[in-house]
Symmetry: D2
Subunit: 345 residues, 4 copies
Amino acid sequence: MIMFNCDYNEGCHPNILKRLVDSNMDQHPGYSEDDLSAHAKELIKKACGRDDVDVHILVGGTQTNMTVISACLRTYQGVISCETGHIARHETGAIEAHGHKVLTIPSGDGKITAEQIKKYCHTHFTDESFEHVVQPGMVYISSPTELGTTYCRKEIEEIRKVCDEYNLYLYLDGARLGYGFASKGNDLDLPFLASVCDVFYIGGTKQGALMGEACVICNDALKKDFRYIIKQNGGMFAKGRLLGIMFEELFSNDLYMELSRHAIAMAEKLAAGMEAAGFKKYAESPTNQQFFCMPDKYGEILAEKYGFSNEGRIDDEHFIARFCTSWATKEENVDALLEDVKKLA
Amino acid sequence: MIMFNCDYNEGCHPNILKRLVDSNMDQHPGYSEDDLSAHAKELIKKACGRDDVDVHILVGGTQTNMTVISACLRTYQGVISCETGHIARHETGAIEAHGHKVLTIPSGDGKITAEQIKKYCHTHFTDESFEHVVQPGMVYISSPTELGTTYCRKEIEEIRKVCDEYNLYLYLDGARLGYGFASKGNDLDLPFLASVCDVFYIGGTKQGALMGEACVICNDALKKDFRYIIKQNGGMFAKGRLLGIMFEELFSNDLYMELSRHAIAMAEKLAAGMEAAGFKKYAESPTNQQFFCMPDKYGEILAEKYGFSNEGRIDDEHFIARFCTSWATKEENVDALLEDVKKLA
Amino acid sequence: MIMFNCDYNEGCHPNILKRLVDSNMDQHPGYSEDDLSAHAKELIKKACGRDDVDVHILVGGTQTNMTVISACLRTYQGVISCETGHIARHETGAIEAHGHKVLTIPSGDGKITAEQIKKYCHTHFTDESFEHVVQPGMVYISSPTELGTTYCRKEIEEIRKVCDEYNLYLYLDGARLGYGFASKGNDLDLPFLASVCDVFYIGGTKQGALMGEACVICNDALKKDFRYIIKQNGGMFAKGRLLGIMFEELFSNDLYMELSRHAIAMAEKLAAGMEAAGFKKYAESPTNQQFFCMPDKYGEILAEKYGFSNEGRIDDEHFIARFCTSWATKEENVDALLEDVKKLA
Amino acid sequence: MIMFNCDYNEGCHPNILKRLVDSNMDQHPGYSEDDLSAHAKELIKKACGRDDVDVHILVGGTQTNMTVISACLRTYQGVISCETGHIARHETGAIEAHGHKVLTIPSGDGKITAEQIKKYCHTHFTDESFEHVVQPGMVYISSPTELGTTYCRKEIEEIRKVCDEYNLYLYLDGARLGYGFASKGNDLDLPFLASVCDVFYIGGTKQGALMGEACVICNDALKKDFRYIIKQNGGMFAKGRLLGIMFEELFSNDLYMELSRHAIAMAEKLAAGMEAAGFKKYAESPTNQQFFCMPDKYGEILAEKYGFSNEGRIDDEHFIARFCTSWATKEENVDALLEDVKKLA
């Protein structure tokens, strides 16, 4: 079975593995108070072009989202998200479990606009019974989104303006941030995000690490006591050195971007081949997730040899098939898939 | 100013007031462990035709909803509701504050159907990543709804069947229950609700009491330790005798239904008069809330003398105007309004 | 049965009742946005000697405590309380249900000292693993306490100093505030509390109202959006006018203090009579709750005619018996009790 | 610097590391639905002598505790714990953040007795106002405890009886379970725990793994939907295969017990040497944590070369010094410490 069903099927990049082996019996203090973690944080700050951000590395994405969001909001506030946002759909209500409503905005492409957010807030604050309704307190966006699309600078800058107008925090979920950075037409980078977001995270799990998401806090108001909040959420990792190693390596020798570029090259090849074989794209994604309208009969055949995910039905004979590439995707596997695909269509 | 903006503008029915005065200096134990409360509960049980239900009287609706729903659900479960449901829109996220997502279903008339619920549940339980999504654990419906519409027996019975199929609790919010019972075409009654719901509440606040909602627990699994849950939610009322008096009086001498019939008669008169004067109904409501497409210019004029609520814009020149009648509505006030309305159109 | 078991056995003072009757059919907007509520708040502000405090009237004590405390604390913070504090013992974990630990300090008399609080905070902030421990964020005290004792100015001022040093909010639960003000040796008053507390509440339920606790917010940082928080906690009372009436009457014509003085006079008479009859005080309380070491055999006899509460065992033959007086206590009932008591000892 | 300050200073046992390297580029499904995880669970079930338990491997201890405890309790219930229990002291209120009070019982040695629990429950359920108090719903014990002490079969069996009597779940935190099993006088083993506990966990992080705690659910009532709960708590680890590898290796070739025995041998040597050098034990621990009464002056000297933790002051001149050994402790390091210690005393 060759798997394209997600971007975390393999372990980690060999550089990381080597470092794990080499440092294994070194003694370090726990809870990310070690030198490796400190170094990783320095590298990330440098990459963000800012000394004054706080960096915390957590184990996983849902944990990061629930920790950040509950740290930002007051009890009666909610977080604005695209209706397909990860926090709205795929975290078993972790945000609600922390007491906060996810305020969803409809979208066809996984993105929300400044105008939509502005309208949402305007409606709230001009409603006669506004105190009976959850108050928007922050905006959550992902880039890339769940549908593989990405934001550009202008879009995020406009969202920032609305956030300032309505006193909302802006949080960007970058589980696949590098895959966005490496995609065609991208104009985002870390210094930009550090200048425009109150907080964002740089994904490790899907980008070559065994685990780990690096949360970058840019707004001073959110820095105080953040480690208490991590601990209370079960996110204070005992052997924090491991998280340090992940990001030390990813942020050395341009590894993070190198791996990202590889995933995108593989995604582009896969997409071109599928289209050449007659498969229609379901969504226009420039990143490592590619969505196709898959006839059921072909889906069944491909599923015998390949892993990919079913993201819902389109009609009685088609479903949405998602194929992911990653830092670890072997070109020979893409080639094998494209060979088999050609035979179908 | 004559107020039609809601159904809780006045105090309470004189019978209740008299009873309050007469019993004022009697000594009773606190926390609803008094004889008056016991009697009220007996009357409600009798009206439900069942000895084996548990009755708890709470102060208000949001408090009742959050107490009941959090008592029913496990931590990872959510409650299915119409997107215009009170818990989804007008409780400042009280359900989410208890850790539970409100799983909304779209609707034009404030009602949801058995088929919609079934489809929602089917989608959930057949999703590959179902464990990453909030599990539906109960269904919340109101009758009358926020839009004044009502359910009939058949609709609720069908919902019950889906609840049984997917192991969901069924909870009915009856903040305006009597106004539904008294409405044209109604075929619901308390014994029916007690037979089909796991739990429901009979509204007092909007139906002639100073306050109080009588929560009827029909499912044995939900009875145990309910008073702990009330207390933890800040809902254990010290002078519970007052809540007892409210429902003793409402459920004596057919008062509850008598007051309900009055409100409906007033609503029908108001609606007929408005329509006669050329105002279009925005929604078809047989109960005490009447919704009209109100031209802005007429709205402004009426607002000088009458209270009514603005429920959102229809277009650039019209908004939804809601007029409520209640147990306390004076016919002369309806007449005055209709006189003035005639002059406009 | 004559009840001394608590201070909320009766309804309310006749002035309040009269006002309820007189205003019953007036139309008022809901949710405490009516004139009566506005007036009540003005009276309270005046009594506090400050225009710049915010006043919110909630239905009950537990509701007020959980609303205030959760409004003050960040997620990882806890509230320091005497181990016998109401929030620590008798609210079914309502504070924990809001996510916050009650950090208890031992005490023999229901009070905690500035020094104890200082030591607690010092220990926390100098602990190596402080981030793994709940951070103290506020101090909760009651006056009178659960044991009937009271704080004096100097004690509260010293606590205030420690709060300033460690950045803690100071909250005073005044469920029986008037009974404290009327007690021998008292030097507290509303202007003092308004100057020293971040927030406190003036109890109504136990002091002559049907219900209602007036929460006074003195610290600007806590004022914003408080009504959202009330609503989310199920505490937004529909017919807020009733709460307004309670405090309008209590704060007119010195009624609040007049009723308080009556309760204290009755308590002093009761205590003197019990002691004269040979019953030993269990605790030294100058307020309306009186605690005695009650031999089981006498307790049984008295319980046939009188209500009082058993607050725990002292030894194999004695328990703590609490007798409460209140605004409503009839002197003839105290006399009857003392007559019967004399016969025993 | 040689570290004895905790038992998670190093990475993992070489067998685990080798396996990580060998399997690194294999493709596996995420979220612990892979073959390695399945195999690890089989090995643990076999070690427990039961096919019918459910095993879930989570990343860390606090996460496991908060997930298990919130899965067991109803909203108004609390968990009984020793006052020095990890959940009571060192999890930044994670249990309270889930809405539950930790009901503490005093203890000198980190253990609580069946009798104490029985008395606590008896007091609760016979209290007149029991519904105003948090209901005990489960018992949390650790073995080894925070003070290095252990339970024996008889003690746990007696606790089980009380749990049955009062309908409490019994949960054992086994963060250092192997170090307990390998200690002198131990009569516990996995089959016993699986027969007596409703749920317990086998620690990996402190016992030779990079991370991971294997939660064993023995009570059928707790098995349903547990993965939803893990996900909602941010504990669903993407690359679950890693957790599988940890426990596959630990539970192959008797590695878990072999490493445990090593740690105990080192602890015994360390303790004997310290005592020989005149240092008094602060607590009698047969496991890998050793507590000494450390004069401040010697503590300062040792701290230049050795890491150990300060667990609080004893008097003006002494503090409690904790030295931990582990699976990774090098005998040469213990020897070095003992050499230096000899020179002091």
